[in-house]
């Protein structure tokens, strides 16, 4: 496999250059370029219809490509799809199994596709399907089906796994469990491409991510860098006396003060909390509810996808 080495010695698992995909007149994906490094959890975020599923299915050779270059694990998914699929795992956003197939039968069948076979009993346990081993697919709940599909995507011990809306339909506690398992998979060396529209999921799981909107990438980076870059303002809130705090706006790093009766909201950047706190204490004020609110990925998401004209 000819894999390009990045400067820091990490190999590229996926590289995409100017990917374009059309459905008749609709341009679903255009000018999409990104690289995924081996061993990271790479997020693909964006609102419904942004082109996420199209992109990952092009990468798996499940959809034809209308323009650009893609390389996955050193292979071209257009020419080497069958070989590529031996090396990757895939949980599709929409798929199914025959109604009457049993959980263990599905795992057993998919495991046999791996050269030399592969064990699947441990997946039943870790994905909480031990009790459902002999259940038919039609008898599983939405969340159980979802977990079965993730288990199936891992049954061939893939080098790279695509998870498209993995936690849709999972209850909060199964979501946490799933997150832990995904981290564990990454720690074992598997590269993970995580497609999601849940911002909390992306923020806790992803090492790096791209944000899609209207078929193109509108932002990319680590969750922290995206927040800093696009929603870097920090908000400090506390309750104080109804008047006499006009000096607040002169505190270093403070950009603005909004007062509502006894409630204050101070916005600023970087170390604004430390400065506001110090200034309050030095004037004898010790508000017990002094707290800071940092922007989350969700704020970035809303900011950048609220309209498709958002500048980069």
């Amino acid at each position: 496999m000819e894999q390009k080495l990045l400067p820091d010695g990490m190999a590229t698992a996926i590289s995409v250059h100017d990917l374009e995909k059309r459905y008749q007149d609709l341009i679903a994906v255009k000018d999409v370029s990104f690289e995924v490094e081996e061993g990271e959890i790479f997020g693909i975020l964006g609102p419904n219809g942004a082109g996420k599923t199209t992109t990952v299915e092009c990468l798996q050779g499940l959809r034809s490509i209308d323009g650009g270059d893609v390389s996955v694990l050193g292979l071209d998914p257009r020419r080497d799809a069958l070989k590529l699929r031996q090396l990757i795992g895939s949980q599709l956003q929409e798929s199914a199994l025959p109604d009457r197939v049993r959980v263990w039968e599905a795992l057993d069948l998919f495991a046999s596709l791996k050269q030399g076979g592969s064990s699947w009993e441990h997946l039943l346990k870790s994905w909480g399907l031990g009790e459902k081993r002999d259940s038919k697919f039609s008898e599983l709940s939405g969340g159980q089906r979802q977990r079965l599909f993730v288990a199936l995507s891992l049954v061939n011990n893939p080098q790279l796994v695509f998870l498209d809306e993995m936690t849709t339909g999972l209850d909060p506690s199964s979501r946490r469990t799933a997150w832990d398992l995904i981290r564990r998979i990454r720690d074992q060396g598997t590269t993970v491409v995580l497609v999601t529209h849940f911002m909390d999921e992306a923020e806790t799981l992803c090492d790096r991510l791209v944000l899609f909107n209207g078929g193109t990438i509108v932002a990319e980076g680590t969750p922290e860098s995206l927040i800093d870059r696009h929603a870097g303002q920090v908000r400090v809130r506390f309750t104080g006396p109804p008047s006499g705090l006009e000096w607040l706006s002169d505190v270093p790093h403070v950009a603005g003060v909004i007062q509502d009766g006894t409630r204050y909201e101070v916005s600023g950047d970087g170390p604004v909390l430390a400065h506001v706190g110090a200034a309050l204490v030095s004037r004898g004020l010790e508000p017990p509810d002094l707290r800071v609110e940092r922007a989350t990925l969700e704020d970035v998401f809303l900011l950048l996808t609220s309209n498709s004209e958002t500048p980069r």
């Binding site: 798996q60 499940l62 069958l82 699929r85 031996q86 895939s90 599709l92 929409e94 798929s95 199914a96 199994l97 025959p98 009457r100 197939v101 039968e105 057993d108 069948l109 998919f110 046999s112 596709l113 076979g117 599909f149 199936l152 061939n156």
Partner: protein, 245 residues
């Protein structure tokens, strides 16, 4: 190979878990025998039935007919349902080749068809006093080729038809038309004109003849060639036009 074995075994189990399909496949031979067998005796008549007794003619023909029902109705419906639900896409994304999907279906058709045929023979021979097969190896070979004909046609239908409803409707229609004009209903000799000509071209006609050739020691015509050509053509088209989604 291991995957093919697992896939085939799984498909067989899935077939047996589908109560209606099973009922259809295994009740059909009896229905045919007692409904149709009641109509004709087993007298030979020089003008029809290739000059053999009616039931001697029909037993091998019915074998072809039951195999046709599995291949033309059950198989395409199952494949098209799997496409409609996204099962085929799931298989594809996991790197399951088309050949395994198709081959497992073909084997299942042969196995179910064989069980159905055995039921038919076991009941048909004593009840209607039918002659025993003249050449068992030729009958087995004829069964195998007939099975391939309908399995490959079934895969082709399942490969291209967009929905399970379409597959079922077209499958039932083809099967019924072939029954009527392909030689499994009225004797082929009484079908004249256009119907007779179309009947000549149905795959059922040729599979009936190759089953009868071995069973009744009749002179093989070009039916074997036509049957094998049908298998090759249908398989090529199925591979060419197979749709996963």
């Amino acid at each position: 190979m291991r995957t093919l074995a697992k896939m085939t075994w799984l498909e067989l189990k899935l077939f047996l878990r589908e109560p209606l399909t099973v009922l259809f496949a295994f009740a059909l031979p009896f229905t045919i025998l007692f409904v149709m067998g009641g109509v004709f005796g087993n007298e030979s008549d020089p003008d029809v039935y290739r000059n053999v007794g009616a039931m001697d003619y029909y037993i091998p023909a019915y074998i072809a007919l039951v195999v046709a029902s599995v291949g033309l109705i059950s198989l395409p419906t199952h494949l098209a349902t799997n496409r409609e639900l996204g099962v085929l896409k799931r298989y594809r994304a996991s790197g399951l080749p088309t050949t395994i999907v198709a081959t497992s279906q073909i084997i299942v058709t042969l196995v179910i068809g064989a069980v159905s045929a055995v039921l038919l023979v076991l009941v048909g021979i004593p009840v209607h006093d039918v002659v025993a097969a003249n050449s068992v190896p030729m009958v087995l070979l004829g069964f195998f080729v007939s099975g391939l004909v309908f399995a490959s046609l079934g895969v082709l239908l399942g490969a291209v038809l967009p929905s399970s409803r379409a597959a079922q409707a077209l499958g039932v229609m083809l099967w019924f038309v072939m029954l009527m004009i392909g030689g499994a209903g009225p004797p082929p000799e009484v079908l004249t004109g256009t119907l007779g000509t179309i009947g000549e071209w149905t795959p059922l006609r040729h599979t009936i003849e190759i089953m009868q050739d071995g069973w009744l020691d009749l002179d093989p015509g070009n039916s074997w060639l036509i049957a094998i050509a049908t298998v090759l053509l249908a398989s090529l088209l199925a591979v060419r036009f197979f749709r996963w989604e």
